[in-house]
Amino acid sequence: MAKTRWIPPVVLCVLLFFISHEFIYGVEEKSLFVYDLFWLKDFLCKPSGILSCCSMFFIQFLHIPWLGTLIWIILLILSAELTRIVYRIPVSLSALAYIPAAIFVSYNMSVGYAIYLITLQGFFFIPVLGYLWALLTVVVLRKFRNPVRLAILFVIWGFAGYYVAGFYSLAGIVAACVDTMFSDRSRSCRLAALAGTVIPLLLAPVAFLGTTTYNLSNGWIIGLPEKDFGIAPLKMQFPLMLAMALAVIAPMYKFLSRLSSRKAPMIIQTAALALFIAIPSVFWFRDDTFKAESGMIHAANNQEWKEAVDIFEELQSKHADDPTWQPTRVLVLLKDLALIKTGQESERSYSFENGSRMQNNDCIVPMSFQIGKILYLNYGLPGICNRWCSEETVLFGRNYMTYKYQSIIAILFNDTNLSREYLNILKKTLFYRKWAIEQLKLCDNPGLTAQTKPYDTILQLMCYDDIITSDSEGCESFLARHFNGPKPRRATPLYDRVALFFAMDSKDSDLFWARFMAFLDSNPASTVGKYYRQAAYLFSVINKSSTLETLPFDDTTKELFSEFMEKAFKVGNVSLEEARQAFPANLRHTYYFYFYYVNELQMF
C-alpha cells in the first residue's frame, strides 16, 4: 500500500505536461505584481490582501508557463504532504491528503472563460496558499497546552490571520479547534480552543470594518471569488469551501487507520486515489476553441500576428473532417486582424472557415472584455481601446496588459507624462521591465514613434477625424460601422486596404466599388490580391458592370467563378453546413462562397 503514496505526487507532476500554456498566459496577463511598496500597500490595507499579493507574486512566474506551473505543482504537493505530516495521516491513507490538491487543480482548470470575469485578483494561487496558511494555523496553535494562553493565542491568531488570509484563516482556526478536540489535550484546553475559535470566527470580519471598506456580508468569505458577472458563485466558491472543509475534518483521518477491518485502509486509499484522479478529470475544462482563442489573444498581445494565424489554421485543420465545425467570432476577428497585420488578407482571408459558433461557456463573456482592446488599438481606435482598458481595470483590477495598452495609447496621443506613469509601473515588474524600457525611449524621442512597431500601422489607421461614439452595438458591428463610414480625407493606403476588407465583408456592392477605387488609387496594382479580384469580378457580374470589360481579370478568377456558379446551381439555396459539405475546398475557399453561403452570422 505504501507504494501507492507516490501516485498522487507523480500524477501532479505529470499534469505539468497537460496544462494548456495558452490558458496559463491568460492568467498571467490578467494579473500584476509590481516591486513597489506603494503598489503593495494598496493590497495590505484589506483583509486577505496579503494572500492576493502573494498569489500575484507567484502568478508572475506563469510568464514562463513551465516555471509557474512547476511552482504551483510544488505548492500543491507541499500542501498535501504537510497535511499528511500535520495530521499524522498514515502512509497507507496518504491519498486522502491529496484530495484538497485535486480540488484546487480542478478549480483552476475549470475556470475557462470565467477568467475574463473573475474579480478576485490572484485567484490562481490563492487556494493553495490559503490552504497552507490554514495548515500553519493548526501547527502554531497546537504548540500551546496552557488553556489560558491557548485561548488568547486562538483569538490573536484568529484576528491577525483573518487579516492575512480571510476565509482561509477562519477555516484554519476551525481546523485548529477540531484538531484540539480530537487531540489528547485536557478538557480545559478543548474548551479554551472552542472559546478562542468562536470569538474571531464571529468578530474578525467586523473588527476590520472600521479600517477597510468591504461589505460586511462578504466578510466571512473574503478571499473567495465573489458573485461575478453571471458566474454562479457556488461554482466558484463551493469547491474551495469543500477543500477547506476537508482540512477541517482531516484530524479525524487518523481514526480511519484504526478501523478493525484490515482491508478498510486499502479500500479508503483506493477510493481516495480514484477521487483524486476523477475530480480534475471531470471538471477540467477542455475546449480547443478556448485554447486557440487564448493562444491568439496571447499572440496578439505580443504583436505576433503570424503566430495568431498559425493557431487558427491549426485549429481549422483539426476539424477539417467535420463539416459542421465553425469558428467563434473571436477567432474570426483575431484571424482577420492578424491577416491584415501580416498583409495577407487579400490572398488568404476567405481560405479560412467562417462562422459564429457560440463559445462553450455557461457565462456570457462580452467580446469587449475578451478582445476589445486588441481590436480597437490595432484598428486605430485608441480612444475606444482606452475605454475598455479602463472598464477592465475598474471591474477586474489592474493588470499587465491594461497598463501595456494604456502606455501605447498614451504614446500614440503624445501624452508623455501619462505614458511615463504607466511605463514606470511596468518597469518595476519582472517580465515587462524590458518592454517598458524600450517604450520609454519613445517618450524621450517621440519622433521615432511613427517608425516603430506597432505604432506605425496604428498611426496609419488613425487618419480619420475624431468622433464621439459608443460601441454599444458590439465590437464587430462597431468596427464595420467605423470602416464602412465616410472615407477620411487623410486616408492612408493601409486605411484604404482595411476599409476595402470591411466593404467585402459587408457584401455591399456600392460600398465595395467605392473602397476598391480608393484602394486602387492609393495602393500599387500589384497588391490586388486574389480575393479582391474575386470580389471585383463578382460585383461586376452582379451589376452587369462595364468594369467587367475594362478591368484586367485573370483567367483563374473567371474560371473559378464559372466553376463555382455551376456548382451553386446544382447545390441550390442550402444552409452553410450543407454548402460546406457540397462544395470542394477550392470553391469553398472563395469570396464567391462567402458571398452566397456565409449569411446570418451572429455578431457580438
Binding site: 461575478d228 509601473i425 464621439i468
Partner: protein
C-alpha cells in the same frame, strides 16, 4: 590675519553646524515634483514634501524661515510636520536645494514658499478611476489638510455585492460644516443620503413630475433648501482624442428640495433648455445656473440631436441668474448673466466667493462636463464692477474644472489635469486682494511621488471646517438597511 582665520573658521564651523556644503558652485533651478517653487501656502497646510528630479549623487535641502532652519537629506524631501509648523509660523520659507555631482556640490537657485491665511482643515473628494462607465471601486474620502490623514467617508464596496454595484457622487456640505451633508447613491440600494444634525435619511428625489433623481446640489446658505438639477446623463467616447470621453445630458431641469416639508418643486424646466449646475449666492437671494438651448435641433430626435451637438461641439451653455425670496420661496424671472454661447464658448460650474464679490466658472468650447476637455479653463467675474477675465494664473494647457472656495474666501481649490492630462488632482491657490490668484500648488502628500503613482482621480473637492461626523461603517449599515423614502411634489411659486 589672525582675525580673518578665526572668521573663516567660524564660518566653516557654522556651515558644518547647519550642514550647508562648502565651496558650492551655482546651479540652475531645481527640478522638483510637485512643482512647489514660488508658491503661497496656507499657514496650517501639511508639509509640502517634494521629490528632487535632477540626477545627482547626494541631495540636501535647506528650508529657512526667520531664525528656523530645517535640513532634509535625500532626493525625497519629507519635512517633519512639527518642524514644518515652526517654519510656517515664522513666515515665508526660503528653500535651497544642494546637489552633489561627481564629488562637488551645486547650490541650486533658491525658491520661496510664501505663507498666507489659514485654509479650512478638511477637503472631501471622490476617489475614482479615470474614464469609465463601470464602478467597482469608488469612495468619498476626507483629507485633513493640516496633516496627511485621510479617511473614507463612504465607499461603494461597503454595500456592493458582485454585480450589484453603486455609483456614489455629489457629496455636498452646507456652509462648510458637516452637520448638514448629503451625497447620492445610484443604482443598487440607491437614494440621496442626507445627514442632518445627527439624523440620517435616504431619499428618492425623483417624483412623477420631475425628470430624474437629483444631482449637482447646492445648499441654501440660510434656509433649509437644496437646489439640484435633474439630468439624464450619457457618456460617449472619442475614437482618437486625448479628451477620451464626452459626458452630456439628454435632458436637464432645475428643482428645489425643501427639507422642512420634504417636497420638491420646479425651478426651471423649459423643454428647449438644458438647465444645470445651480449655485446659490452667499446671501441666498440669487441662484446662478447654466443653460443650453436645444435651438434648431429640437425638431430632430432629441437624443441624437444632443449626441450630434456635443460631438460637433455646437452645444454651448450660458450663465443665468434668478432671484429668490427664501422666506416666501418665490422666484423672480431668469436673466442672462453671461452669454457664453454667443461667444462660441460654454460656461459651467458657477461658484460665488463667500464675500459675494467673485464668481469663478469653467469656460470651455462646448458641453456641460469640462473635466474631460483639455481646453477647459477657469474664468473669474468681479461681481462688484462687472468685469471678467480668464484666471490665467490658475489655468494650464490641460483641463481645469471643479472648484470650490474656502469658508474665508481666501483660497480656492481647483481640479486640474495639468500633470498627465488624465488624472484630476486638487490644486490650491490664494486669492489676492486685486482678484488675482497665486500660483496653484498640488495637494501635499506624505510620499511626494504619490500623485505620480496613484492611478485615481480626485473629483469634486469640497472644503469643510470640520471632519465628517458620521462614520463610514454607520453610513454603510444605514444604506443597506434603509429604503429610499419618497418626497412630495409642489407647484412652483412666483415669477
Amino acid at each position: 590675519m589672525k582675525n580673518r582665520i578665526l572668521y573663516l573658521c567660524s564660518l566653516a564651523f557654522l556651515a558644518a553646524c547647519t550642514g550647508i556644503p562648502e565651496n558650492c558652485s551655482k546651479g540652475t533651478d531645481a527640478d522638483i515634483f510637485p512643482d512647489y517653487t514660488d508658491i503661497t501656502v496656507p499657514v496650517n497646510i501639511a508639509p509640502t514634501n517634494f521629490l528632487i528630479q535632477d540626477n545627482a549623487d547626494r541631495y540636501l535641502t535647506i528650508l529657512e524661515s526667520g531664525n528656523r532652519t530645517v535640513r532634509v537629506k535625500g532626493e525625497k524631501v519629507r519635512i517633519p510636520i512639527r518642524k514644518w509648523r515652526k517654519l510656517t509660523s515664522q513666515g515665508n520659507i526660503t528653500v535651497t536645494v544642494y546637489e552633489q555631482k561627481d564629488g562637488s556640490w551645486v547650490r541650486m537657485n533658491p525658491f520661496m514658499i510664501n505663507v498666507a491665511d489659514e485654509i479650512d482643515s478638511y477637503l472631501s473628494y471622490r476617489v475614482i478611476s479615470a474614464l469609465y462607465e463601470s464602478y467597482n471601486r469608488l469612495s468619498i474620502n476626507q483629507r485633513n489638510l493640516t496633516n496627511f490623514k485621510e479617511k473614507v467617508v463612504y465607499a461603494n464596496s461597503m454595500a456592493s455585492k458582485g454585480e450589484d454595484t453603486q455609483c456614489i457622487n455629489c457629496h455636498s456640505f452646507k456652509n462648510w460644516r458637516t452637520d448638514n451633508m448629503q451625497f447620492h447613491i445610484r443604482q443598487y440600494l440607491g437614494g440621496t443620503i442626507m445627514y442632518r444634525n445627527g439624523k440620517l435619511q435616504k431619499l428618492n428625489l425623483k417624483t412623477d413630475s420631475t425628470l430624474s433623481a437629483a444631482v449637482y446640489p447646492s445648499w441654501h446658505p440660510t434656509h433649509d433648501y437644496i437646489a439640484y438639477s435633474n439630468n439624464k446623463t450619457m457618456q460617449n467616447f472619442h475614437t482618437s482624442h486625448t479628451n477620451r470621453i464626452e459626458v452630456f445630458d439628454e435632458f436637464s431641469d432645475l428643482i428645489l428640495y425643501n427639507l422642512a416639508d420634504n417636497s420638491v418643486s420646479i425651478i426651471e424646466n423649459d423643454p428647449d433648455e438644458f438647465e444645470c449646475y445651480p449655485s446659490w449666492s452667499p446671501d441666498g437671494k440669487t441662484l446662478f445656473y447654466v443653460s443650453a438651448n436645444l435651438g434648431s435641433l429640437k425638431e430632430a430626435n432629441r437624443k441624437n440631436s444632443t449626441i450630434i451637438a456635443n460631438s460637433n461641439g455646437t452645444f454651448k451653455y450660458s450663465l443665468y441668474a434668478k432671484d429668490f425670496d427664501p422666506d416666501t420661496r418665490t422666484w423672480g424671472k431668469k436673466r442672462m448673466f453671461y452669454d457664453a454661447a454667443a461667444l462660441d464658448s460654454s460656461i459651467t460650474w458657477p461658484r460665488v466667493s463667500p464675500d459675494g464679490r467673485w464668481l469663478l466658472c469653467c469656460l470651455s468650447t462646448h458641453g456641460v462636463f469640462p473635466p474631460n476637455q483639455d481646453v477647459s479653463d477657469l474664468i473669474i467675474f468681479d461681481l462688484k464692477n462687472g468685469t471678467r477675465r480668464y484666471a490665467d494664473e490658475l489655468n494650464s494647457s490641460k483641463s481645469e474644472s471643479y472648484h470650490t472656495w474656502s469658508s474665508n474666501g481666501k483660497w480656492v481649490v481647483i481640479s486640474s489635469r495639468r500633470e498627465d492630462g488624465l488624472h484630476t488632482r486638487p490644486y490650491f491657490a490664494h486669492l489676492n486682494s486685486d482678484g488675482t490668484f497665486t500660483k496653484p500648488f498640488m495637494l501635499p502628500q506624505k510620499d511626494p511621488e504619490f500623485m505620480r503613482k496613484f492611478m485615481y482621480s480626485f473629483n469634486i473637492p469640497e472644503f469643510t471646517i470640520e471632519p465628517v461626523r458620521v462614520s463610514a461603517r454607520k453610513l454603510a449599515s444605514f444604506v443597506k438597511s434603509t429604503d429610499a423614502s419618497p418626497v412630495s411634489f409642489e407647484q412652483k411659486r412666483g415669477e
